[in-house]
Amino acid sequence: MRTRALRASTYGTRLPGLPREPLTGRLIVIEGADGSGRTTEVGLLRDWLEIQGHPVVESGLRRSTLVAEQIDRAKQGHTLGGTTLALFYAVDFADQLENKILPALAAGSTVLADRYIYTLMARAIVRGASRAWAEKLYSFALKPDLVLLLDAKPDVLLHRSIGKYGSLDYWESGMDLSLSRDRFESFFLYQARLAAEIDWMVKEYGFYKIDANRSPNAVHADVRRLVQQIYKDGVDRSRPAPAPGPVNGRARRAAAA
């Protein structure tokens, strides 16, 4: 069984008041814009992992018992400022991390996170926060074992988004940023800004990019291949994890920790 120390595995800030028990589960993050096929992939991956005997706990954004409702309410009124909203999301994330993700990992489950701090950071930054502020804010987050980025072209996202909702969502189009009064145009401008922020994180945080312009099955085949690695790595802890693909120094240190 592999273990890891909590302190070594956050992005730099210690979480106070947590049990020092080893975390034997694995944390897998699926990132990607709306319409990139995230939800479909989370479902497929969950099925596959459970069939292999790995218990799975899901987490996502705005799902905390503490403040999810209040965030929804605040968004209805569109009254919160950028900094306030960014911090509110951080409360939601921290609550899920402490009350759901960490206990599940301590119990040996696999946590499948449908988006994580990266989307939250990108949203905060396009709304005016500095990268340094956003990174420090979320530096208490646990480093995942694997971050998969489902990468799809803007027009693919657009068609899937319209297909799913029948229209373009106010927030997913970044209408609160007043980029354009035209929702269609705003959607493209907003998604481009988000993509630019996610782009520098790919290297910085060691994401694995997966071409999501393809069918769900083709995407899933790639995902399985990558996910398999982190379970294999757990078998023999005497050697450092082999790094399939572009892993930066930070991610490698995390793997060794």
Partner: protein, 238 residues
């Protein structure tokens, strides 16, 4: 606005005066007196206090019932609350050229979250959107005075106010006293770093007030006047 009338600390046309200290240190009384004095002298004054908003008090109540709040979520929740107050009630009047009087500012969060065991640098970086005040008055009192005034006020000491979540003591008053000791230690640690002006607050109210006027006068040189006193709670009441 002429550039020379902008604050040399944060660059906005207004001025930011902050009152910090333990519960029962007399800072709220003085913050109000100072607001009245400046208003009566014809300055545009905006008074704001950091009382938990409905959003935060609701969430804290829920969290407490379910035992969900941790030092990290507690800290983030208050940062959210402060950001909301800042974006609504502090930054706009500061930009509009008001003397903004704050009964508690980000320093309250620094000391409280550090006392709960959060990483102090993480907490400070969260609040980095809040500009450095032109003047921060730290009301220094012995913890015994704070406790005595708190009990005399007959306000109920709340669970988190007493730091009961830290398990310092089973009894509320004892826990409160120990927690205040921690807060005081953190305030004292911040004096140099944050450039606090120390107000020895265990003295008669009028003497304390005289010192405050003396400290504030130099800040008013060349600052425009206009008879007006606006309070944050009045401005939202309509």
């Amino acid at each position: 606005m002429a550039p020379e009338s902008r604050s040399r600390v944060h660059g906005e046309p207004g001025r930011l005066l902050v009152f910090e200290g333990l519960d029962g240190s007399g800072k709220s009384t003085q913050a109000r007196l100072v607001s009245r004095w400046l208003g009566a002298r014809g300055y545009r004054v905006f008074f704001t206090e950091w009382n938990s908003s409905e959003l935060v008090s609701d969430t804290i109540r829920r969290g407490k019932k379910k035992g969900l709040l941790t030092p990290t979520t507690f800290s983030l929740l208050h940062a959210t609350d402060f950001a909301d107050r800042f974006e609504r009630h502090i930054l706009p009047p500061l930009r509009a050229g008001y003397l903004v009087i704050c009964d508690r500012y980000a320093f309250t969060a620094f000391v409280r979250d550090a006392a709960r065991g959060c990483d102090p640098e993480w907490v400070r970086s969260m609040y980095s959107f809040a500009p450095t005040p032109d003047k921060t008055f730290y009301f220094r009192v012995p913890v015994a005075v704070s406790l005595r005034r708190k009990i005399a006020s007959r306000q109920k000491i709340s669970y988190y106010e007493a730091g009961m979540d830290l398990g310092l003591a089973a009894e509320v008053e004892t826990s409160y006293e120990r927690f205040q000791n921690r807060l005081k230690r953190e305030y004292e640690r911040s004096v140099d770093r944050d450039g606090f002006t120390i107000i020895e607050a265990d003295r008669p109210v009028e003497r304390v007030h005289a010192q405050l006027r003396h400290e504030i006068r130099p800040l008013l040189d060349g600052f425009p006047t206009e008879a007006k006193l606006i309070r944050a709670d009045e401005s939202v009441a309509s």
